[in-house]
Subunit: 288 residues, 2 copies
């Protein structure tokens, strides 16, 4: 952003679910001075969430030394609760990051819609489900949209803002300002698109790289080097696969019968050998 | 390349065709100290080729100031001829960059095969035709392969080395050394692949960007910004379109019925208005 960071239009933000993305969203929001409440289902989930918050705070502080103090203090500023009505009762914005099951999300949104202030804006971080599939469950579809973050939110800082057909554009405008206020680069979509903008671009590139490898045209290092040399990008497609995580890549490939051979290749050569990419220290490349 | 630049295994290189790519290949080779002969069909074609050599030498010198002297001197070191037998009679390597018509290329290769020393290696720069489609015409298929360069060869310095099934791997190894010797990053393909490695990766990415734009999901600037922010690449897909050239993009889209809408969009909004990308000063963006 060339313009100065705006002030968050929401004073109190609630994050639902302290998994990998939920914890990162809560952390990023709290590190930018916004009051954050985080919800998960029970004490065990909250304990695991607390550990994730501390771990991601450490990673963010290492990656962004200038903001080390803000990230370091953020976990202690997040209120944790396993009471959903309590979590959202005073929220200006609710960001949902619960597991990717439509019925679960619809159930959560119905309960949030009943308990959150009528003025609250509601946003799903779903990667694979469209907001139109759950908008009616919220009871306030015009104040509901998708706000999609990527893993390692503090570094990979796109925030895709995607309404469904019934979202009030003024609400989407406001959510864009919120995203910028917590250090994100807002990406505005003008209509629903499965996989948003980023993954709509990335998935075909990664698929083409997989095909070249499976066909034996060139090896991993050569394909990556070609991409880096020709485009000036810092990482080739297989380096991106390692960052995305090979379990995620396998899940995406498994969902499409056309990429069955690639799913099998990943399973046999990587998943079955505990090679999950950067997260496990080994994938197409070895880390540390 | 981390390793020092190797010496060219070929002392005398002949380039066939002084169009955009042929002129750049001749220039790049001469600028790296190799004797170059360039052939085109008649005096008019040679005059136009000479102008291209001077123009590209100026562009390369501006882009790579450290090599300005070498590029500046290169055009004067290239011998020009419209006699094909004379052009290839003493060649160690012949690189063909004549128009992309199979029968023309086969005819040229038959004449080259008859006139070049038996030891000479023969390489096509074809973007769209596979070497297996013309290997037999050369009379020495084991010494024939594809060596593919990209536009603005001095900056965009991939050289894809792709044999057909009958190419001697030792010949491909040697051509890789030649590519490195003239400042290229050699990319070795282990089997024939239409579009090589680079375009096999690039075309799906560019196609996905076109689809997002046509569907009205996001605008050109937003799509490009998403890609740059998320991947760290210096250019988004529409910036790449402008560099590739919108006439080339239109030709590729026109060849596939599935991308008809994109071909029409480019025609109406860009080609019909004289907007060809960077080369015309205007495309998706305005230049200069």
């Amino acid at each position: 952003m060339d313009s100065p960071t705006p002030t968050s239009p929401y004073a109190r933000v609630t994050v639902l679910g302290l998994g990998v993305l939920g914890a990162q969203i809560a952390l990023q929001t709290a590190a930018h001075g916004v009051d954050v409440t985080a919800y998960d289902v029970d004490d065990d989930a909250l304990r695991a969430g607390r550990e994730r918050l501390e771990r991601f705070a450490g990673a963010a502080a290492r990656d962004l030394p200038d903001l080390a103090d803000a990230y370091g203090a953020a976990p202690g500023r997040i209120r944790l609760t396993s009471d959903l009505a309590d979590a959202v009762g005073a929220a200006d914005l609710v960001v949902e990051a619960v597991p990717e099951r439509l019925e679960l999300k619809r159930d959560v949104w119905a309960r949030v819609g009943a308990a959150a202030p009528p003025s609250a804006v509601l946003a799903t971080n779903s990667s694979s489900l469209l907001p139109s599939a759950m908008a009616d469950a919220t009871g306030r579809p015009e104040r509901f949209l998708a706000l999609h973050f990527a893993n390692r939110i503090w570094a990979q800082n796109t925030a895709e803002v995607m309404g469904h057909a019934g979202t009030d554009p003024a609400v989407a405008d406001q959510v864009e300002v919120f995203a910028a206020a917590i250090g994100m680069e807002p990406i505005r979509l003008h209509r629903e698109q499965p996989a948003y903008v980023l993954n709509s671009l990335l998935i075909p590139l990664l698929g083409a790289a997989a095909e070249l490898l499976l066909k034996g045209v060139a090896d991993v290092e050569t394909i990556d080097r070609t991409w880096r040399t020709a485009t000036g990008a810092p990482a080739g497609p297989f380096q991106v696969y390692d960052v995305v995580g090979l379990r995620t890549a396998h899940a995406i490939a498994s969902a499409d019968p056309a990429s069955r051979a690639w799913a099998d290749y990943l399973q046999e050569n990587y998943l079955d050998r505990g090679r999950f990419g950067v997260e496990s220290g080994e994938g197409f490349y070895t880390y540390r």
